[in-house]
Amino acid sequence: MHIERFRRCCVALLSVSLISLGMQAPAAAGVVGTAEAITAAQQRADLTVVRDALSRAAVRDQMIALGVDPADVDGRIAALTPAELSKLAGDIQQAPAGGDSALAILGIVFLVLLVLELTGTIDIFKKT
């Protein structure tokens, strides 16, 4: 009984997400976008472009999971090429996320040194 309800729920969810995927597909069917053509011509082994719609969905889910306001997600995804989306779908968790300030890093290094100093591991802050 519960399983049946769960299954129905899954089917409904999946249908909705598939329908919405279809709606996000670019309107100009038939012609290959220049970005896609360049990628295809280079035949980059590292850029096996997963179906556009699939990587869009994967990036969308992960962005929301990483705290992006759902209202901002579509605009962010629409600004990327199929190859960029495909790559992002695979590495959004590990790709370099620039955010640290040099000051913060100096602070961390200082803290580490301070802890080592206080615990007596090192003795670089001369007290005499």
């Binding site: 038939g30 976008g33 220049t34 472009v49 705290g67 990327l80 996320a97 955010g99 040099a102 090192i122």
Partner: protein, 326 residues
Amino acid sequence: MIRAALPAAALFVGLAGCAASPPLADGMPPELPRALELRDTPFFPQEDYQCGPAALATVLGTSGVHVQPDALAPQVFLPKRRGSLQAELIGATRRQGRLAYLLPGSGQALLAELAEGRPVLLLQNLGVRQIPFWHYAVLVGYDAERNVAVLRSGRRERQEMRWQSFARSWDRAGRWALTVLPPAVIPREAEARNYLEAVAGIEAAGDRRAAALSYDAAIARWPDEPFAWLGRGNVAYADGNRAAAADAYTRAAILAPRDAATRNNLAQVLADSGCIEEARRQLELALALAAGTALSATVETTRAQIEAAGRSAVEQCSLADRHWPD
């Protein structure tokens, strides 16, 4: 007790210093000024973890787009990663109507860009390879005599870094360097393919006006570059201008007869224009070229559309009196 820490310190220095970087003056091209600083570059002190939006607002400002980091943060910042990804800085650049052009990973390319008056957004790794601290900063100048790089970085409006330290931090981050270009502006030393990737990116983001202007500039500079013509055709097609699209695709196909995407797109616009017979012929070429590549599914879809159009075709070919590429 300090003796215990020495091996660790030596290891740290060793890791940080893997890549040997020469001083700035070594191998500097004679045509470049010995020192240069783009003093008018705006400065936006970063808030916590927000060096991405701050650095992006800096380079956008120089290119004529005046936007605050706060307005860019919802377009690039990933809260749970406490930072911004390179791909999203690129995407946000396109959303401001600017091309995101990735420079080749050489120090000379950075200097040449500064010499043309454009500051460069870079990714730095201020940690070590094993424990990275990713940081975006903007290179605004250099001085070969004093061997320094001048940056807008974090909360510092003007940071001087010893050139080798700067170059190593950039090297540890994969030598990623971005410059922001208004449409149709091409760096003096640009590579055609790098530039066209930047234009194709803004086309994919839906800014057809910026893409059209930039493809036209690319065609003027590299008239034999097939992807410049393909791109121009794609924008014309999206604008509903079939004749211009067909002509541009034809030029692209003459320059790159074995490109499947070009044949596919030419077949599509021919079918749309009622030229079913020629559309079929171009599509056969596309099918053969696309076999086993990422484009094969797309070309199959085009074939189905052309066959459907062929069954209901009533209109005359509106693109007569043209020679189609073999």
